[in-house]
Symmetry: C2
Subunit: 757 residues, 2 copies
């Protein structure tokens, strides 16, 4: 239940497993490359190390690969593709955060050698990583060559040849006792990154086995070569120590990396591994979800939680890209995926990281203000795609399959990201009650996003209303639409919240309030004007007709019926459809109206939810991995359970099954967040109500005996355990909770409430 | 009969086929890398471009690989290891000197594409090489990416990791219309080498198809990327033009390479290919051997001849390494292999190249003089292993399998190389009658090698004789031996020849003679002293005992009997033998006494030859690829035909069968020369007698219907055709020839002589 295993080696699957087996600590990430393969796509990323150079847009930089190692027997490199592979097994142990491999190679001359390894990226010291190899010659004695190297030949776009680019130059690379080093600088941003690695080698008695060291530069790659002499059937240990530092945190990264390596080398690998495992245990104690009697779901949810955790560290200047730190999909850019899909997991189990995610937005406010200014608006316009500085980095142009340029409009029109961030902010405050955060950062974001909306709306004199025209909503099939409900509704909400917190701050912290006013010129008059605008923002919703039109004119579009589903249970394109004219049809990519109802559930009645869910689900192509989970949750909300489990499993297994066919580009982080929401908000039926009360209305799939998870709430941790019969809360504080519309005061300790009503 | 084919792809065989499919023109060489493979050992060598840097000894430099190309369909690179391979065929067409490949790839999405190619390295313009690709999408239309790049990441020692080293640094690499460039410099010798490549792409109507060019530096590799749009079942042509220049021939190699590329690009690929093929045809007209009714032998002998020819160009400052220009075995060093094994082929069919090989020795005389000086001798001591300057480059130390250092003595003791060169020189003069060469270069070499021997011998007062102690003869199992017959006999011969040509030069060219005397201090007294030494050099040979002792004390060594042979028909080590003490046994690595009898056949009687052949053959382990061919020839000479064909085939197929298991390190050039000698001197029974007359005493294997070859003789070409019944000479001059002891005056035209006597 804790292990993701690969026991058949097919080099064509390496790129997918590299994503699945990525090890990261939120600071540095290594794709799970098979170090003994010729067929690998090394990916080494440092959170926040972006660069543009000759690339189309600023992107996460693929840095040198310090994991380089080769073992030669009779001058023949042990290679998965070359040697006879008598045994192969690779396991991601999610409990401990260790990647464990076992191989038995047979060389062309018949020598058999057993090599097993443990790789980890330390949670204790974020600059450290290590691999421990155990080597056992099975049928020979003799010499073996061990080569430790750093690969300075990596580049971005290994899976995307038209966008191949190496973002760094090698400043220096060479040797420094113990081991080797590489110091590189990104061309554009000038980030300087240092890598250091070194080996230890021991026999069973702990004596050094590394002999005859040779150091060579092969091109720009530093390589150190050792000979070891081995006896048949004895075990030898090779420990590889690695450190990395960047100029983001140090003014002399090479010196820091070397000092860190020296300390690491002395303290030892096992000691570090123990500390790392301890922290992993603490993490699971807080964030684990237990699903009884459904192995696939159990393993799957842990997989998603594990990789979400791997994306965070205590750095308030970075956030989580759409594909995590696991690959180059979407170039490491941050979307609404973070606030709307991933954020709840962090908010409810690891709120300190949720806070960092919001701080990233605070720290990129400057770029967001610049975006607004460049586009002729006021306030802050958060970028649809965000990299290191908050400036818009959505590519302007793509290519169709004939190489013709295609204009990409999301960066120009997908404004809802602004309110999405405001939503996450308010949720954070509701769950944590962190007033200090609101005072220092939150209110400023609310005011600036509110101000943006006030400048973005257009007054329609004829109807005396404010409109927001030429936008893209969550459903990206439809561009340049007017008055998208999701956008308009949340803009209104954002304006209202901005006004509310303006007064809140005035009351709570007069000094901060004065600073905000004097620095950014907010006035009572301005915020009152927002309220006026909010009231008059056009929402195409009327009481007689519960079905909400996604945007003006949507109901007049061409109807297409989805009648076929692929082997993954996802809709196939209806026949006769022109894929270049999706905007003329009612087909949607992912929930839009339904999404709004999930974001602000209390604003809509059960009946509205049911009607809209039914209507839009039939027209949704699920062409986003963000889509199925949301329908799963909404289905459960409106009592349509029949698709809930199916959609949940699609979401849960998007990477494990590679059911979108692009896991090689990285982890589907939003989908992972969606899977967590499916479990907690869907099956667990948890809703964070606007009065701050947690409400539960659970429903368990047939094959689930029990579901258990923790929720962090106002500084405490509540354990929730749900069966088909009852729900049990374990808490050390007294807390008001709603279970199926009944508000209950839960005392400290364990409380079970029947669900049989 | 003209084609070496590979039609099953197994990546583990790539390294061997890279040697077999090497294309070279004596100036530049490219190992036959599969450009669409991940598993390749690129080898790009320029004759004479050696470097030492941090290597153990000066070695032939593996230069950047300019053959880099990638074809992507749906961003998926076509790779032999990755794609489904529906068809694979690769052929070396030896007639035309073209490497032809055909692949049908199927991508992971089921797209099928037929790619065929022709690669050649021009014999017309040695700085040019090219590949023509034909691309045909079989079941799809769409876009394809074409990437042209130069790989600046190559290094020496890809098969020998302890000796990994990159000998060059990249001075500049980038783009220049048309195409890309790379300029590198070797660290130590400072050779500067420029590579240029560029693409043309055409549809069936000859219209350009290359679109959307992008240029990128990936690390130090220049890459240009094009998109092409293809229609199903149509054919597209891609022509890759390449040029290379080095500072050995130009003071601005990059400019030259660019100008050459521009000319080549304009003249076109087909035009160059036609000229190249014409020259190949001329070559075959001179050097082909035809063997009727033995396909294996026919193809095999052509293979050997073809690759020998690939090693030569008209550059008098380079010679042929033990592994040709085909790999890094023996680090590109030149041994006696060239003069004793390969030389006869060139001498008798392409004497202009034979002359160049001797000129290489003349041009390295300075280094040879330095070797003598450093070792305390006089004259010139040619190095056992020779690179670019004639200094000794034999490694001093090797390693046993436990990593212990082992002293290598050949560079200190294998003096016979000096006389081997003198032998080739005299043969050259006998066959060509090239007096000018002797005057300008030959005599100087003879005098200097003679002078060396006079300083090397030791006078033994007790026996009033000169001895040469502490040497290694051709058989390298025995080190530090005294009075090795091969060495002593040829030293004596060398001294005699030196004296003879001293007087010859005095008579022929007084001016040259004066120069030699004044510059190097030769005197009549000195050369007369040589004659005295020559007469007193100890040759352990006595008339009562026809069996010659290989060196003093050999007959007292331990006897071991060879009783088992491996699957290649080569001897296995006798049981109970200690391989570290071979010197204490009578086992020998390769012919030594027998070798002497082949070098100077007229000095030994038939009986002596037979007795020594019988004795030593039984004790020969054939641990050199030079060994079997010599026993084949000697067997034929003494009438023991039973092993002749077997040994011949071992020699002939050493690379095609990889029967030494090290063809991956390069072509066995000496073995190839030995194979030619087997055919011409062995089966053809040709001997170059000391009176300059060609004598024939043929014997054909059962399965050979006829044997035909050409011999260049004093500026004319004689065609010799042998059947079991007769021998036919076709010549345009009148020439004296011996056939089975009868001297016959052959008139111009065709003359057949019966062999039935």
């Amino acid at each position: 239940m804790w292990v993701i295993e690969r026991n058949l080696y097919d080099q064509n699957e390496n790129d997918v497993y590299e994503t699945l087996f990525t090890l990261a600590n939120g600071y540095v990430s290594f794709r799970g490359v098979e170090e003994f393969s010729n067929r690998k796509i090394p990916g080494t990323y440092l959170a926040g190390v972006f660069d543009k150079s000759e690339a189309q847009v600023t992107e996460l930089v693929n840095l040198p690969d310090p994991l380089g190692i080769r073992i030669y027997v009779d001058n023949e490199p042990l290679l998965l593709e070359l040697s006879e592979l008598l045994y192969y097994d690779r396991k991601l142990n999610m409990k401990s955060g260790v990647l464990e491999s076992t191989y038995i190679f047979e060389t062309s001359s018949g020598k058999k050698i057993d090599i097993s390894s443990k790789r980890f990226v330390s949670r204790k010291n974020r600059n450290r990583f290590a691999i421990k190899y155990t080597i056992k010659p099975l049928n020979f004695s003799g010499s073996i060559l061990i080569e430790n190297y750093i690969d300075n030949r990596t580049y971005n776009g290994m899976l995307d040849p038209t966008n191949k680019i190496q973002h760094y130059q090698v400043l220096t690379s060479g040797e420094e006792m113990p081991g080797i080093l590489s110091l590189v600088r990104t061309f554009d941003r000038g980030h300087v990154i240092a890598f250091r690695t070194a080996l230890k080698g021991m026999n069973e008695d702990g004596e050094n086995i590394l002999k005859l060291r040779k150091f060579r530069m092969i091109g720009q790659n530093p390589c150190e070569l050792f000979m070891i002499f081995v006896d048949e059937s004895r075990e030898y240990t090779l420990e590889k120590f690695g450190t990395v530092y960047s100029s983001r945190e140090s003014c002399d990264p090479l010196k820091e990396a070397s000092l860190e390596l020296a300390r690491f080398y002395v303290e030892g690998l096992e000691s570090e591994l123990n500390k790392h495992t301890e922290i992993m245990n603490e993490f699971w104690n807080r964030s684990d979800i237990q699903i009884k009697d459904d192995e696939t779901a159990q393993k799957g949810i842990r997989f998603n939680i594990f990789h979400l955790y791997q994306c965070v560290d205590d750095d308030p200047t970075v956030s989580i890209g759409a594909r995590g730190l696991h690959g180059e999909g979407y170039k490491g850019h941050v979307f609404w995926d973070t606030e709307i899909f991933m954020f709840p997991f962090f908010l409810h189990t690891l709120p300190e990281y949720a806070k960092n995610l919001l701080l990233y937005r605070y720290n990129t406010l400057k770029g967001a203000r610049k975006n607004a200014e460049l586009n002729g608006y006021e306030g802050a316009q958060y970028p649809w795609e965000s990299a290191d500085d908050g400036l818009e980095v959505t590519p302007k142009w793509g290519q169709d399959y004939l190489g013709n340029p295609v204009r990409i409009w999301t960066g120009d029109e997908e404004f809802h990201i602004n309110s999405d961030i405001a939503v996450a902010l308010i949720h954070y405050f509701m769950v944590t009650g962190d007033e200090q955060f609101m005072k220092d950062y939150g209110v400023e974001i609310l005011l600036e996003t509110g101000r943006f909306w006030a400048s973005r709306v257009e007054y329609n004199e004829k109807f005396d209303r404010y409109e927001i025209n030429r936008v893209i909503g969550p459903d990206e099939f439809h561009e340049h639409v007017n008055n998208n409900v999701y956008t308009n509704y949340l803009a209104k909400w954002n304006l209202t919240k901005a006004r509310e917190f303006y007064y809140w701050l005035e009351e709570k912290d007069a000094a901060k309030f004065e600073i905000l006013k004097s620095q950014f010129g907010f006035t009572k008059r301005e915020v009152e004007n927002w309220q006026m605008i909010a009231e008059k923002i056009y929402i195409p919703r009327n009481d007689s007709e519960k079905l909400i039109e996604q945007f003006e004119g949507y109901f007049n579009l061409k109807e297409y019926e989805i009648t076929e589903w692929d082997e993954n249970g996802l809709p196939k394109w209806p026949k006769g459809l022109d894929l270049t004219k999706l905007g003329e049809t009612k087909l949607i990519k992912q929930p839009d109206v339904v999404m709004l109802m999930l974001v602000l559930p209390e604003d809509f009645s059960q009946e509205e939810m049911r009607i809209n869910y039914k209507y839009y689900e039939k027209r949704t192509m699920h062409k986003s991995s963000l889509s199925p989970s949301m329908y799963s949750i909404m289905g459960l909300k409106v009592g349509d359970t029949h698709n809930a489990y199916k959609y949940f499993m699609k979401t849960l297994l998007v990477d494990l099954e590679d059911n979108q066919g692009n896991t090689n580009n990285g982890f589907h982080a939003a989908s992972a967040g969606g899977a967590w929401q499916c479990v907690v908000n869907g099956f667990g039926g948890m809703t964070l109500e606007s009065d701050g009360i947690l409400s539960f209305s659970p429903w368990l799939p047939k094959n689930w005996e029990a579901l258990s998870f923790n929720l962090s709430y106002k500084g405490s941790m509540i354990n929730v355990r749900i069966t088909k019969e009852d729900i049990t809360f374990a808490t050390d504080i007294s807390i008001k909770i709603r279970v199926r519309d009944k508000v209950i005061e839960i005392p400290p300790g364990r409380t079970t409430i029947g669900l049989s009503s």
